[in-house]
């Protein structure tokens, strides 16, 4: 089963069609909407598998299909799609995870009045995300990039009658748009410098050597190569979308959306789009590597941002009480890992982690959703507890996800992908700091996940919801089981001993495995750190479980001030509100004041001067232009009254005036030598 590249557009087109049908389906057509959406995505999944088979036949090739969008000057603006292993793996992952989450949603939202609209938006998201994945043009990618942003906005605000959801949706859109503007600028700069936005175009694309050499050769402000500057601007987009520091603040708030949305968009796919973007334009990002004179390489910035984010997300996650927020900060942290991997030069490690993370994080979110649904929308872990008994499947799958995320060795996919990243960071010769950050984050990740599992599933139920929790219906548990299977199995596609996935991504057909003992020291260290994290977590939270909701957190009892800082997310929101928010408010106020008083006032002043020259007017009090206008008409009216008093109605008088004027006129002409 092969899918030729020319037909690649079918993959996003099918969900798009489903979204269109969903938009027109009345509220009652729940079954129809869900069937169409799931059916379309299932077909897309099959097509993606076909595309993967095509791509793996020649993994080094970038199959492209480009077409004209519109005329521009003497040429045309062209878009297109590309098929290579990166695209194909991503498409398979998106469609497969998406399919499972769609199925899960039919159970999770079974009681929601806007069920059809939910599937319409989900399909729209899937279409945009798949379009993003197959794009062979930065412009097409940007278009889909914004559309996934739109879908994210709509789905975070799905329960728009809740003010918090509406505010979170807006915050997500605006914050990511800040990054997107960088991407837009990078894109126009790239277009301006190379005259094309196609990635691969038979030698003329921007990711092909001719264009890259030209970009790296030219210098711009601050001694940066153009490719560095463009790369950094494009990275801005990735920072916004992937919730990297300093634009990470929207992602935890985005948890106001329904949980399947959090699983699909804010864990598995969309937030990973930033990583995908950097991986896609990787040739551009590394174009400045040979240049020694460049003050900073693009990838160095990527690595720094990734390291900071990985650490920051993990630290803040420790102090949270909301299940979904813990998972959200965990996502931030894991995305930081991926960026770190990109920055230290191993994009395949990043993509491998992206794929495994998509599965186990989707699993974690869906399992959390199962808990929340069973506990009547209780998300605060202080009010949960003791769910291990009533929710066996959920607990088992959640535990598998936790172990994958924490990096429990050998069996779980997260271990292998994280090892790849740490290995790459170890090999980076610029600075050891990313490695240290990654290692610290390993401990923290294991710690906060252990805390989460202990608080939610062990001990006793501390709330009404948790006390009456029952296992979720099969539409929800079956996707959990499948995802749990993948969270284990996927790791074996990329072990150091048999790195099939990495080789295919890099376009190689032969696989160079090596013994696990190579670099075994690092692996042993990280296993030790995972054990340390889990042990510490268990020691604090597992041995003596919380008994009532109001009890003080054990860690908070030990380091109260630091812990409350973590609970308040290190005050990033407050900081931004006090700086950026204030600045924007102030500018708006200034612009408004300028408008109302300075510009308008100047004009009024000028018009007042004109009026003053015309007739002195003492009554222009209220405001000069209109008051002046009124006064002007009043003056005219007074003059008119004076003249109208001369209108005596006496026809003789008029005629006399005419006669006398005539006489005067003739005399003036004659005496004035008018001849």
């Amino acid at each position: 089963m092969n899918l030729p590249v020319a037909q690649l557009w079918l993959i996003p087109a099918l969900p798009l069609l489903a979204a269109g049908i969903g938009a027109l389906t009345p509220r009652g057509g729940r079954r129809l909407a869900a069937t169409v959406a799931i059916g379309a995505l299932a077909l897309s999944f099959l097509l993606s598998v076909g595309a993967l088979i095509t791509a793996l036949a020649d993994p080094a090739a970038h199959l492209v299909h480009n077409f004209d969008w519109f005329e521009l000057g003497s040429g045309t603006l062209r878009l297109g799609w590309v098929l290579d292993p990166l695209t194909a793996f991503m498409a398979v992952m998106v469609t497969f995870v998406g399919l499972l989450i769609f199925i899960f949603s039919t159970g999770y939202l079974r009681a929601d009045a806007n069920f059809t609209r939910f599937f319409c938006f989900l399909s729209l998201f899937a279409a945009a995300m798949l379009g993003l994945v197959i794009a062979n043009s930065l412009l097409l990618l940007f278009i889909c990039w914004e559309l996934v942003g739109l879908a994210s906005y709509l789905l975070i605000g799905f329960w728009f009658h809740k003010p918090a959801a509406a505010a979170a949706a807006k915050k997500a859109f605006i914050t990511t748009r800040i990054g997107d503007l960088g991407l837009l600028l990078g894109m126009v700069w790239l277009y301006d410098s190379t005259g094309s936005l196609l990635f691969f175009d038979g030698g003329a694309g921007v990711l092909e050597p001719a264009a890259l050499d030209a970009l790296a050769a030219q210098a711009t402000i601050g001694g940066l190569a153009i490719s560095t500057a463009i790369g950094l601007l494009i990275f801005c987009g990735a920072v916004g979308k992937s919730g990297q520091f300093p634009l990470h603040v929207w992602l935890p708030d985005a948890m106001e959306g329904p949980t399947p949305v959090s699983a699909l968009i804010h864990a598995a796919t969309m937030v990973a789009a930033g990583v995908f973007l950097v991986a896609r334009v990787y040739p551009l990002m590394i174009a400045d590597q040979p240049l020694a004179h460049v003050p900073v390489h693009a990838l160095t910035v990527v690595a720094a941002v990734g390291a900071v984010t990985a650490l920051l997300g993990a630290v803040i996650a420790i102090g949270q009480y909301d299940i979904k927020r813990i998972l959200a900060f965990s996502t931030v942290s894991q995305l930081g890992y991926m960026m770190l991997a990109l920055g230290v030069g191993s994009w395949v490690a990043a993509i491998f982690h992206l794929l495994t993370h998509a599965f186990f994080k989707a699993l974690l979110f869906l399992a959390a959703g199962s808990v929340i649904d069973a506990a009547h929308h209780e998300q605060d872990l202080r009010h949960l507890g003791g769910l291990r008994g009533p929710m066996r499947i959920t607990f088992a799958t959640f535990a598998i996800g936790t172990m994958a995320l924490a990096g429990v060795p050998f069996l779980f996919s997260g271990f292998w992908s994280k090892e790849g990243i740490l290995h790459a960071a170890h090999g980076w010769d610029v600075s050891p700091l990313p490695l240290y950050a990654g290692l610290v984050a390993v401990v923290l990740t294991a710690f906060y996940m252990t805390r989460l599992v202990a608080e939610v599933f062990h001990g006793t139920a501390r709330g009404e919801g948790a006390a009456h929790a029952k296992e979720s219906p099969p539409t929800m548990t079956i996707p959990l089981l499948i995802l749990a299977g993948c969270a284990i199995a996927l790791g074996f596609l990329g072990t150091p001993a048999w790195p099939w996935l990495q080789a295919r991504l890099e376009g190689r057909t032969e696989i160079h495995g090596h013994s696990l003992l190579e670099g075994g020291g690092l692996m042993a260290l990280s296993i030790l750190l995972v054990a340390l994290g889990i042990g510490a977590g268990w020691a604090l939270y597992g041995r003596r479980t919380r008994t009532r909701a109001a009890a003080v957190d054990p860690l908070a009892a030990r380091i109260p001030r630091i812990f409350s800082a973590l609970t308040d997310r290190l005050w990033f929101d407050e900081l931004y509100a006090a700086t950026v928010g204030r600045l924007s408010d102030g500018t708006a106020r200034l612009a408004d004041l300028l408008d109302r008083h300075v510009w308008d006032g100047t004009i009024r002043f000028l018009s007042g001067l004109g009026l003053f020259a015309g007739f002195v007017n003492r009554d222009a009090d209220e405001d000069v232009l209109n008051g002046g206008f009124d006064a002007g008409s009043a003056g005219l009216r007074r003059g008119g009254q004076a003249y109208s008093r001369r209108q005596t109605g006496d026809a003789h008088g008029y005629l006399r005036v005419v006669a006398i004027s005539f006489v005067v006129l003739v005399m003036v002409i004659m005496l004035g030598g008018g001849q």
């Binding site: 009254q641 109208s644 209108q647 005596t648 109605g649 003789h652 005629l655």
Partner: protein, 105 residues
């Protein structure tokens, strides 16, 4: 100082014009005012004919045509004017022009 026919005609028309003007200015009866104005119009017509006939650049028919049109318009004017006089009379039971000042400011 001898007068050519043109000067004579012009003096004649000037005198007629001023007689009409005097009537229009000094009489209060609206009909007489209108008649004075008719006289002034006639004086103007005399000038046209005079210049047509004795002017420095005699032309074939312009003056005559002009006068014919002026007479026609004067007829119209007289008809409308006198109708107005009758309307005024009906309104205020006299035709004293100085009393028809409803439109004063």
């Amino acid at each position: 100082m001898s007068f050519g026919p043109l000067q004579l005609c012009l003096l004649f028309s000037s005198a007629l014009f001023c007689v009409g003007l005097m009537g229009a200015l000094s009489r209060s009866n609206a009909i007489l005012v209108l008649l004075g104005i008719e006289l002034m119009l006639n004086a103007a017509n005399i000038n046209f004919i005079a210049f047509w006939r004795y002017g420095p650049e005699p032309s074939p028919a312009t003056g005559v045509i002009f006068v014919i049109f002026a007479i026609a318009i004067a007829a119209a004017e007289a008809a409308v004017g006198l109708a107005l006089v009758i309307a005024i009379y009906r309104h205020q039971r006299n035709i004293r022009l100085q009393e028809a000042d409803t439109l004063k400011g």
